[in-house]
């Protein structure tokens, strides 16, 4: 066999290999799982894995998947980008000015992640392979409950509890938007109050004297009540029920009942 033929043969074998993987791409539980599968091909202890070689294999896989127009999840592409970065760091001589972990540290961590994932896989296998209740060993088939004394016990699980709470919370979230009005003196109330009191104001009176008790101290409540009462006075002036007077800018606003003859 010529060298060219050998190369071609290798290429086909590699390609078949890759295709086998691609067909199974759905079977992988993410990029780390894929890396673990690829690393098994190196047939070495995971602690002695060549991360460089592994990165190349992974990048080749992603490339092949692209050629076959297989859409890879973003996770796989993120890992590809990271491995490409790692690969370049591993190939280049270390830059002493560069901060952060060395390429070797990063490679060692990747190897650790693979080893840990594999260890967990094995542990899961051993766990599921254990003698299990209801399969290899059994509890009492006829638990005894002599129904003599009946006592009602209410039970609830944590799941029910948190779901109940979530239901309440979610109900709240769907509440139609409403401004929570506290400390707001509504115009309607101001109008009503002013109408009731204006009869007493036969002489000029400070608008502020019409503010309801509890809304007179300086602050937000006073501002709100003053604004509403002022708006109410404008409304009543428009209706010809009162007169408004202000001596100069920022001077107190005064109102009085409009004399009968002026109406």
């Amino acid at each position: 066999m010529s060298e060219a033929e050998t190369q071609q043969g290798d290429a086909i074998a590699a390609r078949l290999d890759d295709e086998a993987l691609i067909v199974d791409v759905d079977g992988f539980e993410g990029p780390l799982d894929l890396l673990l599968t690829l690393s098994r091909r190196q047939k070495v202890d995971l602690r002695r894995i060549s991360v460089l070689q592994l990165s190349e294999q992974y990048l080749r896989f992603v490339e092949a998947a692209r050629e076959l127009r297989i859409e890879l999840a973003a996770d796989y592409l993120v890992m590809a980008a990271w491995l490409a970065f790692l690969k370049s760091r591993l190939l280049l001589p270390p830059d002493p000015t560069e901060e952060g972990p060395s390429a070797e540290d990063l490679a060692a961590h990747l190897a650790f992640q693979l080893e840990r994932l594999e260890a967990m896989r094995e542990a899961a296998g051993r766990l599921m392979g254990r003698d299990r209740l209801g399969r290899e060993f059994f509890g009492r088939g006829a638990p005894e409950t002599h129904a003599i004394e009946k006592r009602t016990q209410h039970t609830a699980t944590l799941l029910e509890l948190v779901q109940a709470y979530a239901r309440l919370r979610t109900k709240d979230d769907f509440r139609p938007y409403a401004f929570d009005r506290t400390d707001i003196f509504p115009l309607e109330t101001a109008l009503e109050r002013l109408r009731g009191m204006i009869g007493e104001a036969v002489t000029w009176s400070d608008l502020a004297s019409f503010l309801p008790p509890g809304w007179r101290a300086a602050g937000g409540r006073r501002r709100s009540a003053l604004a509403s009462t002022f708006a109410a006075s404008l409304e009543m002036a428009k209706q010809g029920q009162l007169d408004i007077q202000q001596g100069e800018t920022f001077a107190p606003i005064r109102v009085r009942l409009r004399p009968q003859e002026a109406r």
Partner: protein
């Protein structure tokens, strides 16, 4: 059936009892020793929901086993113990010794689920404690019936907390250690938030923008922390 009946049975079936000549054995494997047979009968009777007949046991044990004899041995082994091997109708079963029946009485509890009002109230108390009656009503949007609080008190899951230092000094409610114990929580802080529930797939509704984790709120309220130390 008395042990003597069993012995009679033995005699009737003598050809299949522990054959000395392996050629007589109808099975492929040697018959297990009597101690093993006894263990097998013990396990089957323990795990069965119904009494098991000799015939059924014979079918389940390896060929060549002498179930009747195993039962005689097992029965005497359990005699005087807290559990007895008894004949029930056509079969055999394990039963608590009659003189210890009084021990079983606490088992007779009828489990009933909490009403929706109760579980919601409990949830509000757990997540918002210390919380007043008015606040519970505000959150649920309905009046709190007396029975609900009484029920939760009786269950030992809530208790009165300290009075709120607001006008009227209303009583507050808090959850108890029994509550934590029942729900497998170490502290009230371990209650999952709405966001976490959603992430864990325990909540179907869609994610709401700007949704807060209720437990995050807790942290901002210095009043909350004291309680957790109770």
């Amino acid at each position: 059936m008395s042990p003597s009946d069993l012995t009679d049975d033995d005699d009737d079936n003598s050809p299949i009892v522990a054959p000395k000549d392996p050629n007589d054995s109808p099975g492929l494997f040697p018959v297990p020793p009597m101690g093993e047979q006894e263990r097998m009968v013990e396990a089957v009777l323990f795990a069965s929901a119904e009494p098991v007949s000799i015939a059924e046991l014979q079918k389940r044990l390896p060929e060549g086993c002498d179930v009747a004899e195993a039962i005689v041995h097992l029965r005497s082994r359990y005699s005087g113990r807290g559990v007895h091997l008894v004949r029930v109708g056509n079969g055999w079963a394990m039963r608590t010794a009659a003189d210890l029946g009084w021990l079983m009485r606490t088992e007779q509890v009828e489990q009933r689920r909490l009403s929706r009002a109760a579980i919601e109230t409990l949830a509000i108390i757990a997540y918002h404690q210390p919380v007043t009656r008015a606040e519970i009503e505000e959150i649920r949007g309905v009046t709190l019936s007396r029975g609900t609080i009484d029920q939760l008190m009786e269950l030992g899951w809530i208790r009165f907390g300290r009075r709120r230092m607001t006008p009227g000094r209303p009583l507050t409610f808090v959850v108890t250690d029994a509550f934590l114990d029942h729900f497998g929580l170490e502290t009230p802080r371990d209650l999952p938030g709405v966001k976490e529930l959603r992430e864990a797939g325990l909540l179907d509704s869609r994610g709401m923008p700007g949704q807060q984790n209720p437990s995050d709120d807790d942290e901002e309220d210095p009043g909350q922390t004291e309680l957790f130390e109770d």
